[in-house]
């Protein structure tokens, strides 16, 4: 005869059980229990159906213009004025490059070029505008290093969020299995 304590223990395993993620001995234990416990059997079935509902949701796709918009965004990003560190390192590279880079008449061409490369067929990569942009992006190493601290701050913000949620973390344990029983 199953006791409430057995049920609590079993229900803590049910989510993994319905995923087939439990080791063999624990799978056995759950099998054995739900064969004789209607409450846990129903809880297992409901959790399994819930997971199935999620799995069967239609998959959404981004818009057909996604690549074109992304290409423009990358191009705009590459043309955006950089913080001082960027400008100072740019100055180190030399005036000629700076002039070429910031020349307004070249900007639309550059944007179109990047767009063509990002959305275009691979053959474009070998063509001249493609090469121009590849080197542009290679010359763009500074923005790459510029963004590294940003990536670090992303991690920080996640950590911070986790701390903000410490109040919630009390329920990070396997909740209250009683919630499962009260059907």
């Amino acid at each position: 005869m199953a006791t409430i304590r057995d049920c609590k223990k079993i229900q803590g395993l049910l989510s993994e059980y319905v995923d087939g993620a439990l080791p063999t001995d624990q799978t056995w234990e759950v099998d054995l229990h739900i064969a004789s416990c209607a409450v846990c059997a129903q809880a297992a079935q409901e959790l399994s159906r819930t997971a199935n509902l999620l799995r069967e949701l239609p998959k959404w796709e981004p818009s057909v213009n996604f690549e074109a918009i992304l290409a423009k965004r990358l191009a705009d990003d590459a043309l955006k004025p950089r913080p001082e560190t960027w400008f100072s390192s740019l100055a180190d590279i030399g005036g000629r490059f700076t002039k070429w880079w910031t020349l307004p008449s070249l900007r639309p061409a550059l944007a179109v070029g990047i767009a063509a490369v990002v959305i275009g067929p691979f053959a474009l990569i070998l063509s001249r505008p493609a090469n121009l942009n590849v080197s542009t992006i290679e010359g763009n190493r500074n923005p790459i290093t510029r963004v590294t601290p940003k990536a670090a701050s992303d991690t920080t913000s996640l950590d911070q969020l986790l701390r903000e949620h410490s109040a919630y973390s009390s329920s990070e344990t396997l909740g209250d299995p009683a919630a499962l029983v009260s059907l």
Binding site: G12, L14, S15, E16, A21, E46, L47, R49, T50, A51, L53, L54, R55, L57, W60, P62, S63, F66, E67, I69, L70, R73, L74, D77, I114, V117, V118, P121, F122, A123, I125, A130, V134, I137, E138, N140, R141, P143, I144, T145, R146, V147, T148, K150, A151, D154, T155, S157, L158, L161, L162, H165, Y168, S171, E172, T173, L174, G175, A179, L180
Partner: protein
Amino acid sequence: MTFARSLNLTQSDTALISRCQKADIAAFNEIVGRYKGRIYNYLYRMTGNAEDAEDLTQETFVRMYTGIASFRADATLSTWLFRIAGNLCVDSFRRNKKARELTRSLDAPLPGDDENHFVTQDIPDMSQAPETVFARKELAGQIQQALQKLPPKLRSSVVLHDIEGLAYEEIAIAEGIPLGTVKSRIFNARVALRDHLKPYLQ
């Protein structure tokens, strides 16, 4: 070119990343094609909003592109992309929350994307008349609403697992949390979703 394309499709993520790190745009293009659907779908389920999902998916690939040099081999490309997307989502929720706080006197707070929104608040009692609820809204809409009721941390884990098909271990890496926390979040999320969706589980 068809041959080159088919060759390219079989290329591993690792190979694409190292090409991308050498500023190979074709490799970047390939990565976008490979992952935009999954990232978009994840962000759509997180935000419940096509416009935000599109914008955040764009931003995910911009960040991937600009941060490719910092990519570390301890993550797979997909866990890395989901991590970027998840962080962008967190930032976006926080911005929305701030904006809402500013206009709180004018507008009633919106349910859903608030980080501190607890699962037990403002849940319509669907057990009353499931037929009418069915008639009014599609099941998919109900599921999305139920997802919106979850705290974002739980929502993210369960979406990554049940919708995007990530393994527990992959979610632990993507979210930077212990394996046990992943399991308990998925468990708690499913229990809450089950409670919201009870009329549809028969």
